[in-house]
Symmetry: C2
Amino acid sequence: MSESHMDIKETNILDGLHLSAIAKYQQNSNHLSCLGLVDQVAQVLIEKILNGDIKGGSRLNEEHLKNEFGISRTPLREAFRILDKNGLVEVRPRKGVFVKSITKKDIQDNFPVRANLEGLAAALAYPNLTKTDIQQMEEALQLMRQSAQNNDFYAYTGNHKDFHEIFIHSSKNAVLIGMLNTLRMHTLWHRYTFQYYQQDFEESLALHQQILDLFKSRNTPLTELETLVRHHIEIAMDPFLTAMDKLENASD
Amino acid sequence: MSESHMDIKETNILDGLHLSAIAKYQQNSNHLSCLGLVDQVAQVLIEKILNGDIKGGSRLNEEHLKNEFGISRTPLREAFRILDKNGLVEVRPRKGVFVKSITKKDIQDNFPVRANLEGLAAALAYPNLTKTDIQQMEEALQLMRQSAQNNDFYAYTGNHKDFHEIFIHSSKNAVLIGMLNTLRMHTLWHRYTFQYYQQDFEESLALHQQILDLFKSRNTPLTELETLVRHHIEIAMDPFLTAMDKLENASD
DNA sequence: CAAGGATTGACTGTCGACAATTTAGTTGTC
DNA sequence: GACAACTAAATTGTCGACAGTCAATCCTTG
């Protein structure tokens, strides 16, 4: 912590840790700078937003962030465009970039689309699934059970994510994978809320076991698989919405 | 038409019209510059790519484009990010930005996803449809018939686009609308190919009439509507692929 | 003559500064 | 006392320049 001159109020969006980290990587290692300073900055900002360190609705001030990161405004502005591409911020010309805050409407719009696309992904993946894929999903489901037993909601979310990503990836449809990445990022936006989101593990686990069984079975009708996957996401929306409600009311 | 000074070689990626147009707008009118120079440049580039004026695979040289537009590289680079967001180019760090060229795999990935999402859009739109919506779709279908009679493939594509956009918009799902915009842009990428794309008007017209009938009917089951819309896009893929084949072979 | 390395040229990445615009605060008038 | 116009500070938009990197070409050497 060489920044001794910073009595930074915690109103600062970014703490000093990441900026020095970036500066170090920038100087020392070449291969990381090959990844592009822009992408590094974007990655840090994405993390910050997803973890809730940067609150929704807040404005990303170029001048401040420039100083925080110790870089110029040019790569910063391009990083903003990446955030925009991922739907995390809104770029209002001559006004600045604003972190989007998730509303109920966003969730109500997001879930049906994601449900549909993951259903499609499952159907497309079914003929492609290897033994390794099945095995990995079984492992993921096992970890989900374990996390549920420990009442570790955060870990559960991670395992759940792994489970889904396996068959999404096996769909081998680049367009689909890209869109689901974006959609899932939106949902994970308030990932931290999941820590307080008392999910009904029983139902969720049963459904995922059911899905896995369909994947494992030889002659599963594609429509049945697609419908089930789609359904299991659709019914997850209402609990999510009520969880949002609780959190909103709690912060009042 | 005040641009009388353009004897610009067509080897230029961009002709002089747009750049001078941009410069003019930039000076004269405020409300257009409020739209942001970046967005203007992006819009022009998108048009160029969609119309095929900029070939797929070609590299967008910042230095050249800078001179063409008469602007600096900063807004240009940000415009590139917008193109990237729309999936029209690929940004390779330290290499440059390359216009994506559509492959068969892209089409094979794109159509199923779009079919699924438009099916969902139709189902979501059904309860929201107003008399005006129905009427506009009838008009669009009528224009489609007219264009078909004139063998005007280009106009047909436009009318067809209008027809779809009506119910897509009526889904009132912002996420869905955004994704379909991107997906449809990809398909329209080689919009000019449609001029040579000898579509089977009969089947297409019949299907759209069928869809419109389901929209008009009071008690259409949502699944039936969704399946039909989805199906009518899925079956459009193969003719599109063969059309691509022909075009490829023709250009050899 | 061929292969490997150095060199040069072109291009992208980054930066600091200036210009334009918005916003907030202040002053003046009705 | 309230509203409007003006002013000033803050912030975004744009630009030209420099630095670093990649690639192709040319030269050297075996």
